[in-house]
Structure formats: C-alpha cells, structure tokens
Amino acid sequence: MNFWTDPLKVAAEWLEGILTGWGMDAIFAHVLVVFLGVLLLITILMVLDIFLVWIERKVVSRFQDRIGPNRVGPYGLIQPFADIIKLIIKEDTTPDGADKVVYNLAPILSMMSVLIVWAVVPIAPVILGTDLNVGVLFLIAAGAIGTLSIIMAGWSSNNKFALIGGFRQVAMMVAFEIPMLTMLLIPTIFAGSMNMNAIIQAQGSIWYFFLSPLGTLIFLIAVIAELGRAPFDLAEGESELVAGYNTEYSGMKFGMFYAGELLHAMTFGGIWGILFFGGYRFFGLEQVSPFLAVLIFLAKALIGYWVIMWVKYTMMRIRIDQMLAFNWMFLTPLSFVLLMVTALANALLAGTSIWVYGIGMFASNIILGWVALEIVRSYSRKEREKLEGPRKVAEAHH
C-alpha cells in the first residue's frame, strides 16, 4: 500500500500517527482526522460549486448563441468569485412578520441536504465517505430534508408567492419521488445490495444502462423534477410566482439556495452515473489509480450534469396540472410495471449467460416502453378526436 494506490488511508494514518504521538487518545484522533477529511471534501465541493456557476453560465450562453462571461479573467473564470463577493456584501433582508428562526434555518438545511448526500457517494474505490449498507435509501432521506427546507422557506417568508410556490414545488417533488424510489429499486435488484460501492462493483461486466434503459430514462426525468429544473421549474414561473419559495431571500441566504440547486444537479448527475453508468469504472482504468478513478467519476458526473442542463435549456416549462398528470397517470404506473417486469425477467433469466440476460432485459425494457407510448398515443388521439371531431381522412384522397 502506498500513496498512489490508497491516498486517503496513507494520509489518515500519517496524521493519526502524528496526533497520537502528541499524546492524543487514539479514538479521538481518528474522529478528528475523519472530521478534517470531511471538511476537506466539503470545501472541495464548495469550490467546485463556485465553478459550477461559471459552467452553467457558459453552457447556457452557448445554447442561446451567446458567449457568456468573458471579461473577468481568462474565459471569465474569475466571474463566479465576483458573484460570490457581490452576494456576501448584499444586505440580508428579513420581511416583516417572517418567522425568524424557521426563515434562517431553511437555507442552511437546503445546503446541508445536498452536502450530506456525499457521505455515501463513492468517488473512487477507496475514496468514499462511509460504506453504508443503506446507501440508496440514504439519498431519499437526504432529499426529504431538502423537501422540508423548501416548505419551511415558503411558510416562514410571510409571502403569498413564497407560500404558494413552496407548496407547489413540494407537491411536485413528492409526486416525482415515487418513480424515483421505484427506479432506485432496479439497481438494487441487479446488484443485490443497497450499498453504492457494491452497485458500482457489480457493474463490472455490464452497465445497468444496458439492462434497464427505460429505468435510466425515468430516473433522469424524476431527478430533473426533484431538482425543480426546467421543464419542471414551476416555482420559477416568474410571471405568476416571482421566484417561488425563495422570493423573500436575499444576499447569502439566497446564495445558499442557488448554490445548493447547482450542486444538487451536479450531485444527481453523478448519482445517475453511479447507478446506471458504472460510476468510477471505465474499462479497468479505475484499477490503475484512485486518482484516475476520481477523474472518471467527475467526468461522468459532469456529463450527467450537462444532460440535465441540455434538457433545461431546450425545453419549455410545462403547467403544473400537466406535470402532475404526467407523473400520476403515466410515470408512476409505468415505473411500477417496469419494476414488476424487471423483477420477473430477473428471476426468469437467472442463470443464463450474460449475453442472454442482457439482451432479454434490454428487449423487455424496449417492448414495455413501446407499449406504454402506444397506449398514450391512442389515448391522446381519442382525446383529440373528442375535442376536434374525427379527422377527415377521406378528403385527403381528392
């Protein structure tokens, strides 16, 4: 074992050695070193978060045929720091009649709910927060705290827009959490474990994307809704709800919501990569060094983040009634049927070779997706005919 193959452990042992050498209790030294490690990871995440502002602005400007930030520093790289300084020196206003404690607690919980997700994210085979055997469910638990922070922000602001925006956002988030939970069960079935690291390890022979392409897609849709990004960004329907639950927030408290949203998107890009695209695995390259594995994971996370941005900047916002109807009447039933089909196919194809298994899984997903689309198509045709009358086919022949 050396620094090249297991950097975290080597560094931790070295530091613990120094601390115990000073006469510190061994357990206390261990906790202190872990604390420092967590602090380091979260600091890196916050710095990354600052650059995500730059990435987001650059990407959106390219989508919209602009150049984006390009004045401060090379390629505008210093721009996000200017933004941060601006946010810090802004006045922190609190509206009259706001519930002060809850109002101040909400942005903290919002940011925390994103940061604690990284406790279970394996960044490399040996670089991970903790090896919880309930990792997948932990994501939902962290998301629950985020949902609570939104409801707290909306309620405590003493503002109608914030209240309605917060409640709508929460109604949407809880609605889309059902397909998300269901899709989390699919990698769990394949890997036979809820441990994130075990799920990555089990994707050695085949990525779960190939076993469950439909599940990958549904998970992405649910994640985008969970993040509250376009096309599901109803809280930011400026013309009706101003800025949703964070209407009354200013300065750094608003900054926490904003930074939390960006980091959340990037985090879930990474989790999408972990659950369906092999996480830090890439044709054995991760075995070379943990540092390479980190780069692979980061690349996958940024690609996932880019996909989320791509959807955001090319689709328009849909109305809340359409959004909820889409979830309750299409996505939720479909995800349950997909779960049942996956469980059944998994049992029936057990013991066959990886090729038969993979092709069978892939085919069952494609067939299910096609059938679902056909049902929706025939339903929408019926609805349209009810509104417009039957389409006149005969006239086309004249």
Binding site: H30, V31, V34, F35, V38, M46, I88, I89, E91, D92, P95, D96, G97, N104, P107, I108, M111, M112, L115, I116, W118, A119, G129, T130, D131, L132, F138, I140, N158, N159, K160, F161, L163, A171, V174, A175, I178, L185, T188, I189, G192, V242, T247, E248, G251, M252, K253, D321, L324, A325, W328, M329, T332, F336, L339, M340, A343, L344, N346, A347
Partner: protein, 117 residues
C-alpha cells in the same frame, strides 16, 4: 466503531459551512432596514389580505399517496436486496404486493383526485 459517526460528521460540517457563509454575509453586508424594504414583496403593490391563503385539497391527496408509496418502498427495499437469491415465489409475492397498491392508485385516479382542478 459505529459507521453513523461519519454521517453525523457530514451533517455537522454540512451545517457549519452554510452557517459560516450566512454569517459572513451578515457581517459584511450593510444593515439599513426600513419599513418599505421590510414589507412583503408583492411586485411593488401594497400587500392585500392575509398571507395564509386557503389551499386546494389536492395537496393533501398528493402527500397521502406519496406517504403510502413511501412506506411501500420501505417494504420493497429488503425484498429487492434478496431477490437475486430467492426463487420465483419471492417475485410473485412482490408483484402481489405492488398490485394491491396499484389498486389504490387506480381508485384515487378514478375518483378524479389526482387531477389538479
């Protein structure tokens, strides 16, 4: 040692960082409150009426259906973990379990409770 110590540390640090940022904003930002600035934002118009508007009953239904499926998922996660080693009968048990709950979803749907208006 208990692995949840690490999660607790993540929570502590995850709370310290945003608190630090907000305190920094509080220290460096100006503090000049006045009644107009503190008033509730309603696009420049004087706020009218009570903030606590009456909500649609549908919100309750959404949260209710979510709660039921949340608990359902709790039962299904241990099932999913062991599914690979258990035979077909476990799959059938799971399918029965999910189907029973889909009946509830269909009932709520047929009552028109899942529609927004």
């Amino acid at each position: 040692m208990n692995e949840w110590i690490y999660v607790a540390l993540f929570m502590i640090v995850g709370a310290i960082i945003p608190i630090g940022a907000i305190v920094a904003g509080f220290i460096f930002g100006p503090k000049k409150p006045n009644p107009i600035k503190q008033s509730t934002y309603e696009c420049g118009i004087e706020p009218v009426g009570d903030v606590w508007v009456q909500f649609k009953a549908q919100y309750y239904i959404f949260a209710l259906v979510f709660l039921v499926f949340d608990v359902e998922a709790v039962f299904l996660f241990p099932w999913a973990v062991k599914l690979g080693q258990l035979g077909l009968y476990a799959v059938v048990e799971g399918i029965v379990f999910i189907s029973i709950l889909i009946v509830g979803l269909v009932y709520t749907w047929r009552k028109g409770m899942l529609e927004w208006s």
